[in-house]
């Protein structure tokens, strides 16, 4: 009986899509007609989050409240929030689009994103909680010269945040353009302004709760979408794969590793960047300070890994199901991708309205009709808002807590001033994010995130790990290593095809955009460069500062291992 009612419910949700498909087929649909359901749901979300922001603003008085929600988030809540940071628009829209276009390659990408989590758990999660206060630079500068280390950490954090923000802003612009029929730049401005309101008034409390609500909505929505999609194939993955292979212009090649990974060097380099990049993302590392203890920090990684893994499996199903299901919906395609009113197989991927980043959105329409399209669109928009808020908060903290309070004011600063600086920094970052979002309109968003990961893996991760585990490290080693990782990652990225060819327009011998170097991701060079510089400049360092650095290791290790003396929830 239950089975029949489930089928009835699914049928009721699937049917409207077919009924609606008729009249919409005629004519090109570059931008979606105004979708009242989507707008209403989005407005409800915005009002709800603004309400939370108001509530959070009443609780955001001290610097600890602003940066870390006063340390009062539980492990489970933090796990959801971390998963939320990770389940960004780039993950949801970008990876489902990557699976749609390339099949199995999308799974390789998402596995790389996931496997960094266990490593974070084993090597740095509780250590960070025990050593730091507001930013990960608190950890890397624990026993070193504050000015130098915080400068490196702040610069690399800001570069990572900038790349990640660009990816999010591009996703936001495209999504709202399609959903509301707004101009791209207006969409980016709306996201930028809402994010500034959340962060400036609600700090980490608002940012965390916006993230938690969105994570729950996104997981529920993706679960329903994957379930409804699998239902079309009688809940048989084999049947789904069989039809996808028959439909895709790439045929059976979508079932195995394809072109994402060109050669061994690029494969390993991408793997390094994805795995260790996670452990160097400032907005993720910051979340470990929002929980009260090492125990809760561990729990949050466990929950986050579970939610993220589950989410990637859903994304994979969504991408594969979309190959078959979207091909039956010519209304989602540009007119020049149609032959006699049906989707031209050769243009299944390239002819999609809004590009492959819109695969999940179109599939929501196909399986759940206008109501579900509205829901998923609103959730995707919420996702972007939540992630950019976390990123901006991390960027603003790097400016106010690391650069301003420690480097410029040398620690002689009161909380009120530091808070004011972080809010000003948020404003500036918001404006910069809007400008960069507009400038990078035509880049693939999933790839941009890959670049952010490479820099995080090369500039932040080596310094973090070495400062925790290597007693002979010195300030000089940390500073040179951090900068070497950052500079080599950025330079090699600029010389790669994605920037040198696609953005700067340099063409190779075959007339296609090409890079100066064949390496797509710099991690395989830039991570070792950073570690070697840390090692070399530390062992050669005989300065007075170096003796202080090495002498302070025992005390750091004791606090790191036991949590005795660690920062506890304060300000209440």
């Amino acid at each position: 009986m239950r089975k029949f009612s489930t089928l009835g419910l699914l049928a009721a949700l699937v049917l409207p899509a077919y009924l609606l498909a008729g009249p919409a087929v005629s004519g090109a649909v570059e931008k979606q007609a105004i979708n009242v359901t989507a707008i209403v749901m989005f407005v409800v979300f915005v009002l709800l989050t603004l309400g939370i922001t108001y509530w959070a603003s009443l609780r955001t008085r001290t610097a600890s409240d602003f940066y870390t929600a006063g340390g009062g988030i539980t492990g489970f809540q933090n796990g959801l929030a971390i998963a939320g940071d990770y389940m960004s628009a780039a993950s949801f829209l970008g990876i489902s689009g990557l699976v749609f276009a390339s099949g199995y390659d999308g799974l390789i990408y998402s596995i790389g994103f996931l496997v960094g989590w266990p490593v974070i758990m084993f090597l740095i999660a509780e250590q960070i909680r025990n050593l730091g206060k507001f930013t990960f630079a608190d950890v890397t500068s624990y026993r070193f010269g504050q000015t130098q280390i915080r400068t490196v950490a702040a610069i690399s954090s800001l570069v990572v945040v900038a790349f990640y923000l660009i990816a999010q802003m591009v996703g936001a612009g495209k999504l709202i353009q399609l959903l509301f029929g707004l101009e791209y730049w207006m969409a980016v401005v709306i996201v930028g302004v809402l994010m500034m309101i959340y962060v400036i008034f609600g700090g980490m409390t608002a940012t965390t709760w916006v993230q938690i609500i969105k994570a729950v909505l996104l997981l529920s929505g993706a679960t329903f979408m994957a379930g409804a999609a699998l239902y079309s194939f009688g809940f048989s993955p084999e049947e789904m794969f069989r039809q996808a292979v028959a439909t895709s212009p790439k045929g059976a090649s979508i079932m195995g590793p394809g072109t994402l990974v060109k050669d061994p060097i690029n494969a390993i380099s991408l793997g390094l960047a994805l795995m260790f990049g996670t452990a160097g993302l400032p907005h993720i590392l910051m979340r470990f300070f929002t929980v009260p203890s090492a125990k809760e920090a561990r729990k949050s990684v466990f929950y986050a890994t579970g939610f993220i893994g589950y989410f990637y499996i859903l994304t994979f199903i969504i991408g594969f199901a979309a190959i078959v299901l979207l091909s039956q919906h010519p209304e989602f395609y540009k007119t020049d991708a149609l032959v006699n009113g049906a989707v031209d197989k050769a243009k299944l991927v390239t002819g999609l309205n809004g590009g492959t980043n819109m695969v999940a959105i179109h599939l929501a329409h196909a399986v759940g009709g206008n109501l579900f399209l509205g829901f998923i669109s609103a959730v995707a928009f919420a996702t972007i808002l939540a992630v950019v808020s976390g990123l901006t908060l991390a960027g603003a903290s790097a400016i106010s807590h690391d650069l301003y309070a420690s480097v410029i004011a040398k620690g002689r600063v009161n909380e009120t001033t530091e808070l004011r600086v972080s809010k000003g920094a948020t404003l500036v970052l918001g404006v910069v994010a809007i400008i960069l979002g507009i400038a990078f309109e035509s880049q693939n968003v999933a790839f941009m995130v890959g670049l952010a990961f490479a820099i995080a893996a090369s500039a932040n991760f080596p310094v973090l790990v070495a400062s925790i585990f290597w007693s002979k490290m010195t300030t000089r080693g940390a500073m040179v290593g951090g900068f070497a990782g950052l500079i080599s990652a950025v330079v090699l990225t600029v010389l790669s095809k994605a920037v040198w060819g696609d953005v700067l327009g340099h063409l190779g011998a075959d007339g296609k955009p090409a890079g100066l170097i064949a390496l797509d991701n710099p991690a395989i060079i830039s991570i070792p460069v950073s570690f070697i510089c840390i090692w070399l400049f530390s062992i050669l360092d005989n300065s007075k500062r170096a003796q202080i650095d090495r002498g302070a290791y025992e005390a750091q290790k004791v606090r790191c291992e036991t949590g005795i003396g660690a920062e506890v929830a304060s300000g209440h």
Partner: protein, 102 residues
Amino acid sequence: MHQDSVDAIKGHPLYAELVAKRKRFAWTLTIVMLAIYYGFILVIAFAKQILAAPLAAGMTTTVGIPVGVLIILSAFVLTGIYVFRANGEFDRLTRAIKEDLQ
């Protein structure tokens, strides 16, 4: 932290036990995860046809699909194993050290 209390903790027999056990456990699990993931990446790099082979004759589903899902599961299970031991045994040791020092 004062040098006195650092020395007191360092001299505590349980501290040495805690540090040694956690170090060994954390690095073992790290190496397991790295081996699983880079094993996967090396197969993609050097022998991708293994993953592209059908799971059984006549099937479209390839070996790579369950392998991918299992790697995702392994990440979750490994973090679970760590949390279980750290929140139990390691936290008990830490508590014992703290209580002795008070």
